[in-house]
Symmetry: C2
Subunit: 367 residues, 2 copies
């Protein structure tokens, strides 16, 4: 039997009992607020975790990529929202093929994209279920709320499409353009979406689903009357960024990266065998608004700073003599778990002393 000590590093270790508790807590939050839960699988990319989410009451899942949706469908998930503007004919053909087997909804956010979707649907003789993306502050994709009615009417008029809902991802919290008050951010996200849905309904479009996103805002947005669905993803594992934000406690951390000390250049410095091919580098130290110190929190060494990475080297500085030796193992909570998982072909899941390797099957499904 594999033991923790026998795991080669670097690797990701996931505590399944914490995962199951996190899944329960979010499922209870959705039930309490009478909204549907449609978790985003971009965080774990692992079919068995998606199936656990559904078993605990999720109405379906969310994916970003058609390739992710295909993998999840192969493993028994039968209701998938691809929350992304799918605009390439080849990809739309794959969506249509998938929609013959399971329930699929796809994102749309421009009339150009909607026309391509419509054309492919008509050619295939099918109706595609679509949701209109609304920008609630991220300034990424999504129609501005004040232009949503006009665009929704155009989309609703296209053949082959059933505009069944609207969705958003509240990025202001993450992007530093807004507030770190999660409650206020979630309430604003919900309010904008419900108002937009009401305007669309007044314009004659039968909006059924009002879907909001994101682990930090979901509990607050869910409480807004009129919101029908939340799509959190990171809540399955949480991460350092979310703890600093106040969206979780350290006890909620379910995934850690195990590394080995390979060099001790000084009594206050260490080099470990995990660098930028092991830990995501998208959330950089000092990045606004969280001003995180370093690339992760080192368990048992909260003052140590994971200050630099090369591809296969992680450089850690401690405030005093660390007392560690070449060959010692450290465990690190990464700043951002989703793209960190994406670097690993498999993760190790532990429960009650049993460890098993689980392949990250939807990893690298970029298209």
């Amino acid at each position: 039997m594999q033991t923790i000590e026998s795991l080669e590093t670097p690797c990701i270790l996931i505590d399944e009992s914490v995962v199951l508790r996190n899944l329960d807590n979010m499922a209870n939050c959705a039930a309490r607020n009478q909204v549907k839960l449609r978790p985003h699988i971009k965080t774990h990319k692992i079919p068995e975790f998606a199936l656990s989410q559904v078993a605990k009451g999720a109405s379906g899942i969310t994916a970003a990529k058609v390739g992710e949706a295909e993998i999840m469908a192969e493993h028994g998930i039968d209701d998938i929202f691809i929350a992304y503007p799918v605009v390439s004919p080849a990809k739309i053909k794959r969506v249509i093929a998938l929609a013959e087997k399971i329930h699929v909804i796809v994102g749309v956010e421009s009339i150009e994209g909607a026309k391509i979707l419509s054309r492919e649907a008509v050619n295939a003789g099918v109706t595609l279920s679509v949701r209109l993306e609304v920008d609630t502050g991220l300034a990424r994709t999504g129609v501005a709320p004040d232009k949503a009615v006009e665009l929704a009417k155009e989309i609703a008029a296209l053949p082959g499409l059933d505009l069944s809902g609207i969705f958003t991802f509240k990025g202001a919290v993450f992007e530093g353009v807004g507030t770190l008050d999660l409650e206020a951010a979630g309430q604003e996200e919900g309010r904008i979406m419900v108002e937009t849905a009401d305007k669309l309904r007044a314009g004659g479009i039968a909006i059924r689903d009002v879907s909001v996103g994101s682990t930090p805002t979901a509990p607050y947005a869910a409480a807004v009357e009129g919101v029908t669905e939340i799509r959190p993803g990171t809540y399955i594992f949480y991460d350092r960024m979310l703890a600093v934000m106040g969206a979780c406690s350290k006890e909620d951390w379910a995934a850690r990266v195990r590394v080995t000390v390979v060099s001790v250049p000084a009594e206050d410095r260490l080099v470990v065998d995990g660098g930028s091919k092991t830990f995501a580098t998208d959330v950089q130290p000092g990045q606004h608004p969280l001003h995180l110190k370093g690339f992760g929190e080192i368990i048992g060494h909260p003052d140590a700073v994971f200050e630099k990475m090369n591809e296969e080297h992680g450089m850690i500085r401690t405030s005093g003599p660390h007392g560690l030796h070449v060959g010692d193992i450290l465990e690190i909570i990464p700043n951002h778990i989703c793209p960190t998982i994406n670097l690993h072909n498999e993760v190790y899941v532990t429960q009650e002393g049993v460890i098993r390797a689980v392949p990250v099957l939807a990893r690298g499904k970029l298209a």
Copy 2:
């Protein structure tokens, strides 16, 4: 037959004729300077490219991880330097198993690490070929030159190890702690290493290999009398960072990322379907000393700035109206190609109009 137009995005497209020219040029540089060429495969992670490098005269290859070396050996590479301090008993056992089949050299840079290697070698009844890592300015791993003799003597006295050479990676160029004068940096790297080798020989240690690293410094370090080997990696594809450094021209770029425009929020803004799961984020915009603008250069739009990424979204800003539409394809040269390739399960290689998918077999071999 697959055409460029039929490739789904995001994906990496590699021009094989440029690859072959880059390989020839570096092989010629090594031959001209009468040094061995031992390319680092961390850039491509693809056995067939490693075999091309050997076919063009490389004396072997360099890898960072045991798992990478195992994959390369399975595919016919028979001389591999693992340029990394391998300090875990389980990994050393794998190195010993590999060394029964092919020629393997492994890095060492501390007496603690050397003792673990020695113990495992003695237990297995073998002698492991090792090279001592010397720090020539990166302050990452490697012994300081003024402490190299003492450490080398200790290592040479350990049973089961054959200390056959020294190696370095000249990071000052990349890390912003030194110069961007590549010629001066390469010459300094070579000089420090040759001086260190001479001191070790005067101390009675028969140093045969004096190995230097890195694409930008290799051509200059190779010219230093006494250097015996260069280990460049990125030269197979080059990237935006190396062009800005002056280590290549844009004609040398062999790998580009193809993305699709999925949203056009304004006449000077675009969103493409590649974000931080498609492009590495380790070399950030504005990072010292290169001060790169954005995350990559957009072919045909040199003034456009690839200013932000989320996991599946890339945000591009142009200096004026871009005239692009939803569904259009763009090609981008990433800041850093090595960790970008590492995100992709396969790449597409094109030559004379024929395109084939090539799996990145050593991708994600973290351990």
